[in-house]
């Protein structure tokens, strides 16, 4: 139970706490902290952690039990020895590590390509239409503040509940990250469902996105209809919310829709690079202004 928790959830708390303990035990059994430590220290060979600031430290969220200003206490023997992550057998760490590292390298390369494509598309769009990253309160270049880190001047937007977050710009056919971002936005806005974005290349109105998987009760609103007016295939700008179509909602380039959930809103904007015709989408999540 958390520090602010009341005692009204005894049975649930007991069940969740027991499950927590069991999970922790299982994780510890599958984890070799010694090698994990060695990996980080080996990668950063020659460097040492920068000194903690002198003077009274900010209260640790975890309380006094987690003050790390002292030398480590005794560590259970099972945490000291073994491999970083004991999957699935104890031996053969190097053999297993090879393919995973290879996979990681490929993933990193793929992400780099996606990022480059995103930047290229968005910078192109900023000349052709508008700067997507310059939406009020949104920032792709500057990540949000990190809990536990002292506030600094470098954050252009104050931390707190009123921040929004541009989660992803998806450039097709490179779609990695979009699914998770859409799910995150939908979950955080309290929309729920199992949303999916599909790319329809040869629709009547050219390349469009098909958004599906939201609950039937989800309310959407068109803030701009973009190319829809030209092709007259999609709803125009609406002043009221409409129920989410059960067959999904097609989004042409230049369309912005707002989906409202119990905890906030998710705004989806489709954009198109004029010379190439490539389309993409930005997903922005706005928490409730409570």
């Amino acid at each position: 139970m958390g520090k602010d928790g009341s005692g009204n959830h005894t049975e649930l708390d007991a069940l969740l706490s027991a499950a927590d303990r069991g999970m922790l035990e299982a994780i510890r059994d599958n984890l070799d902290l010694g090698t994990g430590l060695a990996q980080i220290l080996g990668d950063l060979a020659g460097s040492t952690p920068a000194g903690r600031p002198a003077g009274p430290a900010e209260a640790d969220p975890g309380g006094a039990a987690h003050g790390y200003g002292h030398a480590p206490g005794p560590v259970p023997a099972r945490e000291v020895s073994g491999a970083a992550r004991k999957t699935p057998a104890a031996a053969g760490q190097k053999t297993r590590k090879g393919p995973r590292d290879h996979h990681k390298t490929l993933t990193t390369l793929a992400l780099a390509v996606i990022t480059a494509l995103n930047i290229a598309l968005l910078s192109g769009l900023s000349h052709n239409h508008w700067a997507v990253g310059a939406q009020p309160g949104a920032s792709t270049a500057c990540p949000g503040p990190v809990a536990g880190e002292p506030a600094r001047d470098r954050w252009p937007f104050p931390p707190g509940p009123h921040q929004s977050a541009v989660l992803a710009s998806i450039v097709l056919p490179s779609k990695a990250g979009g699914y998770v971002s859409l799910r995150f936005a939908a979950d955080n806005a309290g929309i729920g469902g199992d949303p999916v974005i599909s790319y329809l290349k040869d629709s009547r109105s050219g390349p469009v996105f098909l958004l599906s998987g939201f609950p039937a009760s989800t309310a959407i609103r068109f803030l701009s209809s973009g190319a829809d007016q030209e092709y007259r295939t999609c709803p125009a700008v609406s002043r009221r919310n409409h129920p989410f179509p059960s067959a999904g909602q097609q989004l042409s380039p230049g369309t912005t829709i707002c989906i409202t959930g119990g905890d906030g809103r998710a705004m989806l904007t489709t954009v198109q690079n004029q010379p190439s015709g490539q389309i993409g989408m930005t997903i922005t999540w706005f928490p409730d202004l409570m």
Binding site: G2, L24, N30, L37, H66, K175
Partner: protein
């Protein structure tokens, strides 16, 4: 001095690494332990370099590792015909029935509710959870209550 600082950081690693993995697994039910361990390891590597500026390592780690999980590429193609679900969180672990049941129940909650509930059971206060999640305390309390209500209903407990 450098040795003492490294010992501090190592103590933090040993104490928090398993808990951080558990937190991520509870939040991102779609992932297995390897994803969570990678994200946690990456957060700790970053913490190593920022040890001087991070005053609340537990909260900081949860924020950074959570974002790291979000940044990881989707494992499944973004296609309407592809399976939306991915591996269960417990695929790489030997969990008891009770733990599987709780994880399965958590997976039915929206991510924001899973996150606050995981933080509550990691002994964070509402104020700290608000700081970690970037929401205000009222929204956090609301999410905690909703999450508890949903979990009670799903698990059939009081």
């Amino acid at each position: 001095m450098a040795g003492a600082l490294q010992a501090e950081w190592e103590a933090c690693y040993r104490a928090e690494m398993p808990q951080l993995i558990r937190y991520l697994m509870k939040c991102f039910g779609e992932s297995d332990m390897r994803d969570a361990a990678d994200a946690a390891q990456s957060a700790f590597a970053e913490l190593f370099a920022k040890w001087s500026t991070v005053r609340s390592p537990r909260a900081w780690l949860r924020t950074v590792a959570f974002r790291q999980m979000l940044r990881q590429p989707a494992k499944y193609p973004l296609d309407a015909h592809s399976e939306p679900s991915v591996l269960p969180a417990s695929s790489a672990l030997e969990l008891r029935e009770q733990e599987r049941q709780v994880l399965a129940a958590l997976r039915q909650l929206p991510l924001a509710q899973r996150q606050v509930l995981a933080l509550v059971y990691d002994q964070f206060s509402c104020r700290e959870i608000a700081e970690i999640t970037g929401k205000n305390e009222a929204a956090v309390r609301k999410n905690i209550e909703r999450a508890r209500a949903a979990m009670r209903e799903i698990l059939g407990v009081t």
